[in-house]
Symmetry: C2
Subunit: 226 residues, 2 copies
DNA sequence: ATGCGTAGGATTGTATACAATAATACACGT
DNA sequence: ACGTGTATTATTGTATACAATCCTACGCAT
């Protein structure tokens, strides 16, 4: 019955962990926009903690690339440029393909079952237009794929990227056309994994990301180039 | 004449930055082996600083995956397993291929010149058997490739992995056979980039990593599987 | 008006003090 | 002898005090 002892970087039960998670969320959700200076004292007061946990959270956020700390000067929110998003989607298209390939050999029965349930539920919520649930299920499908790859390294990497483009993705999935299509693609990937067809799994996962990428561009969420 | 204002995470002129770099190095070089507990006070005394910068460095090291912090308990060195190394080489083989492909369109003249100089020098030092220089030049060749990709995201990612497998790589390149072969492969990648042949560049960079990977296994530096 | 130097304040960097938590050892009862 | 509870100690978590640095504004000379 253990709950969640795995999230090493952001244990929820320390002040630092809470500051870290909160700031991360606020930056990804756009509360703090690009270039904004984060002051240790101000953040601390807002969250009711001293500078110490804030500073430690800052160091982590910098390593995640969400803020840039200039020594003796300050911490500034680093925006995600359109180019960053494009790059990440290209990287993800390749790495998710690899994850799907590896998942063929490493997925557990539990993971397979959850994936099937996920696809089934997503179909339902898409019909009903439940955007929040669709978003969560999509998140979970991809995380499951990463976990099923059996590679801590790959899993960690893809989860990072996944989080990083959160802002954009929230908009994308709400688009009427992409939702159902995305589900079908998930289902196809799942089928390939079940059939132990590594080539198909990789190809489908790869295409899935490319399609998501194209969708973003078609809907004007990001520019196709600089 | 500005020197190095880019290494955001590890500015050398703060105590925290020095602690971070030092611990990182010590872990990668094997001074602190897997499972060892790092105590804040002990590390602080060894480096002549208080707990504060040590703690901040710890948070960063955790995010890099080099240590694991268990709340209220301690910080433990996380070893690189053979599987991690294998996974990273597979990932790198794909991502370096992508970097080489992108470099074809984005490499600057300065980068191209440095790469040519790098290959030329490496040939010399290989003949002389200067292992330390060979190691540094190999490092630099790959970093150049990452920078030439024109993608901050990809560059950052590959530099991370590159650092991560430092320990192993040091041994690999000293092996008599791999050194010269590695040079030839670098040269071939460089030629493909100069000739604006993206397909060749990607394929050659991909193969370069696969060869390095095979070499490690053949020399018994890592197990081929668990 | 403009440029430069300097003083003041604000902010980060570091050290230290205190609080909370976890590991250990030992005493006690059975 | 064994298990249990508790006191002790070591270590991490957080807050605060102090030092170093940077930015701004102001005054002064030109």
């Amino acid at each position: 019955m253990e709950e969640d002892v795995k999230e090493g970087a952001s244990d929820k039960y320390s002040l630092r962990g809470r500051v870290f998670s909160r700031l991360r969320e606020d930056i990804l959700n756009g509360k703090y926009e690009e270039g904004v200076e984060l002051r240790e004292i101000a953040i601390g007061e807002e969250l009711g903690v001293s500078r110490t946990p804030v500073r430690e959270a800052f160091r982590q956020l910098e390593l995640e690339g969400l803020i840039k700390i200039i020594p003796n000067k300050g911490a500034y929110v680093v925006g995600i440029s359109d180019k960053d998003v494009r790059d990440i989607y290209i990287l993800r298209s390749r790495l998710e393909g690899l994850a799907a390939r590896w998942a063929v050999d490493h997925i557990t029965n539990e993971q397979l079952e959850e994936m099937e349930e996920n696809v089934y539920l997503a179909k339902f919520h898409t019909q009903k237009g439940h955007n929040e649930q669709i978003f969560e299920l999509d998140n979970r499908f991809h995380e499951l794929l990463y976990e099923a790859s059996g590679s801590k390294i790959l899993e960690h990497q893809l989860k990072d990227y996944h989080q990083y483009v959160l802002r954009i993705r929230k908009k994308t999935l709400s688009s009427k056309a992409r939702g159902p299509q995305s589900n079908l693609e998930h289902e196809a990937i799942l089928e390939a994994i079940k059939n132990k067809n590594a080539d198909d799994a990789e190809r489908l996962a790869h295409e899935h990301m490319i399609n998501a990428y194209k969708n973003m561009i078609d809907n004007g969420l990001i520019k196709p180039e600089d």
